[in-house]
């Protein structure tokens, strides 16, 4: 018999470490609410959008941080500001289009206006009409601005946090994983397009999936069938010191066809069984032999390099069992037509229809569906022991997933 007090009892983590995860964290609405307060509104940096999307002063973009609607704007001085996208008056959504150009924020409901610093600058009929109505004498306009976020940008990525306690972004990520962002984003970025996926599962199942280097060659059969990742390839897992963030990468041990390491290596041609191999062409633009690099910035960002397919993926929770995964697909500003073609072709590998990623769209739902039936059950993650440590050479480990749960527990205080 389950005790009736269970709902009121603070959730306690069963066990010492994070090699076992209770199903309840994917299905309990109370935990979902707690995450909004302690994790998304807590001391975490969350990706908001790209500098490249806000090129001119007054350009804005709407986005999400957890379940909070956010607007990011470039101000007159060229710096980026982010606010809760909510009018201080009635709580209505302020910017209701995906993007646009403004000189001030203007709420359509009652025409309250704010400057680009979020300061309330205008209240319609503030002094009433003909001496009647208007705000009371006690109303302090300065106390009713937009709720700001702290903003930091790194290599063209704009991050926001609601907390004053979040350490500077460089410290948050740590030197080793900062270096891996530097490795991928070597030049100013350009957006090649967007799409998103609705995942029928709790957001954490997708967050975990990215850190789960164990599944890559098992679930994504395309890898083996068509020789994308071969057992003799090098690679490994890197983790931030606190275990929250990770990098999983695969590299060729030598450029197969070209001993000089020059550009334009037609990757893995020898293994190929597709009729048209051009989808796998790889221009070694980053100066190394890494073919796959998946990096997470806890809790909701993935920075991806798969051959020449570059993207950032933003995880947006939409309820306890529904997640939107927003892909912003990237190139560099100075790409020529040929390079853009290469990237566009490689994007057949990733996204909702990606040869090596579509399964990630359904597999979280498989867990959600089966786990929902049993709130007392738990996952078991024994690969690589119970430790949260990097791995050189092997990606057959669940260390990074355990690191995610360590971060989750620390944020939630559970």
């Amino acid at each position: 018999m389950t005790e009736p007090a269970a709902a009121e009892t603070p959730f306690t983590w069963p066990g010492e470490d994070t090699s076992r995860v209770p199903y309840r964290v994917y299905t309990d609405p109370e935990i979902y609410e707690l995450e909004q307060q302690r994790l998304f509104q807590g001391a975490t940096w969350n990706f908001l959008c790209l500098e490249a999307e806000l090129k001119e002063a007054g350009a804005y973009k709407t986005t999400w941080l957890g379940n909070a609607p956010i607007v990011v704007v470039r101000d007159q001085s060229g710096s980026f500001k982010a606010f809760l996208n909510r009018c201080a008056h009635k709580g209505a959504v302020l910017c209701y289009k995906p993007r646009g150009q403004i000189t001030e924020f203007n709420c359509v409901y009652h025409n309250w206006t704010y400057d680009l610093d979020g300061k309330l600058t205008g209240v319609a009929f503030r002094k009433g009409v003909g001496g009647k109505g208007g705000v009371g004498p006690e109303f302090d306009q300065n106390a009713h601005g937009l709720k700001p976020l702290r903003v930091e940008t790194y290599r063209g990525l704009i991050f926001g946090t609601f907390s004053d306690e979040t350490p500077p972004f460089r410290d948050y990520l740590g030197p080793e994983l900062i270096a891996s962002i530097d490795r991928v984003i070597i030049k100013p970025l350009k957006v090649l397009g967007y799409h998103s996926q609705i995942l029928p599962n709790n957001w954490k199942l997708y967050a975990e999936n990215n850190k789960d280097s164990y599944h890559a060659s098992l679930l994504h059969v395309f890898h083996n069938t068509f020789g994308v990742v071969r057992p003799n390839m090098g690679g490994g897992i890197k983790l931030s010191a606190n275990g929250w963030h990770h990098l999983s990468y695969t590299e060729r041990t030598a450029p197969n066809n070209d001993p000089t390491g020059m550009e334009k290596v037609r990757s893995l041609k020898d293994q190929y069984s597709l009729e048209d191999a051009s989808v796998m062409e790889h221009n070694l633009e980053l100066g190394d032999l890494v073919t796959n690099s998946i990096q997470t910035v806890f809790p909701t960002l993935v920075v991806q390099q798969i051959l020449n397919a570059l993207a950032v993926r933003q995880i947006v929770p939409k309820g306890i069992d529904r997640t939107e995964l927003v892909w912003t697909v990237l190139g560099f500003e100075d790409d020529d037509e040929e390079m853009t073609e290469l990237r566009l072709k490689a994007n057949n590998l990733v996204g909702p229809a990606g040869f090596i990623s579509m399964e990630d769209g359904c597999v979280g739902g498989f867990v959600q569906r089966a786990a929902s039936a049993d709130p007392t059950g738990q996952t078991v993650m024994p690969m690589g022991g119970r430790a949260i440590e990097p791995s050189q050479g092997s990606r057959v480990t669940e260390a990074a997933v355990r690191g995610f749960w360590k971060g989750w527990r620390e944020c939630l205080g559970l």
């Binding site: 995906p98 957006v191 090649l192 397009g193 967007y194 799409h195 998103s196 996926q197 609705i198 995942l199 029928p200 679930l219 059969v221 395309f222 069938t225 068509f226 597709l274 009729e275 048209d276 051009s278 989808v279 939107e324 697909v329 853009t340 566009l344 072709k345 994007n347 057949n348 996204g351 909702p352 229809a353 040869f355 579509m358 399964e359 769209g361 359904c362 597999v363 739902g365």
Partner: protein, 158 residues
């Protein structure tokens, strides 16, 4: 007038066959609806309207079309499901000797093996046909989804 009407009926008939092929799992025939160097892409209205080149799925040449289907048959993992394409009116936008351009809207209802049916996609297709020897063949098909959101995954072409 009669000539335009005939051309439009031929396009409608072609699309009816094309959708029937997709909806009845005869996907091995897909490549043959396109010319040898035919092109295909699925994108979103968000990308299309902003002139952004990204596609969710793109093929150039019959080899890539066949690769899509062999991956779907042998490699990709997904729950069994079927589409029901519901085509809208076809509007001819250009007609020259040897070439027809047409635009039409569509919706797709997806039914999963457990029985859940949902509106999976709504959008338009922009189709360019070669018209040689009384036979239409797709030179290019651009599918523009109204929503940027794809539920779960996209594996069967549209």
């Amino acid at each position: 007038m009669i000539e335009d009407l005939t051309a439009r009926l031929r396009v409608e008939s072609y699309l009816a066959d094309y959708y029937a092929m997709l909806d009845s799992d005869r996907l091995e025939e897909w490549a043959n609806y396109f010319t040898e160097q035919g092109t295909y892409r699925v994108t979103t209205r968000e990308n299309y309207d902003q002139g952004l080149p990204l596609s969710l799925m793109s093929c150039k040449g019959r080899g890539m079309f066949r690769d899509r289907i062999s991956a779907l048959r042998t490699a990709n993992i997904y729950e069994p499901h079927v589409y029901c394409h519901i085509p809208g009116w076809v509007r001819m936008t250009d007609k020259k000797p040897g070439m027809i351009r047409a635009e039409s809207s569509f919706t797709v209802i997806r039914t999963m093996w457990e029985g859940d049916s949902m509106l999976f996609a709504a959008g338009r297709s922009f189709d360019v046909f070669s018209d040689e020897g009384g036979k239409l063949t797709l030179l290019d098909r651009t599918v523009v989804l109204d929503s940027r959101q794809v539920d779960t995954l996209l594996v069967i072409p549209l």
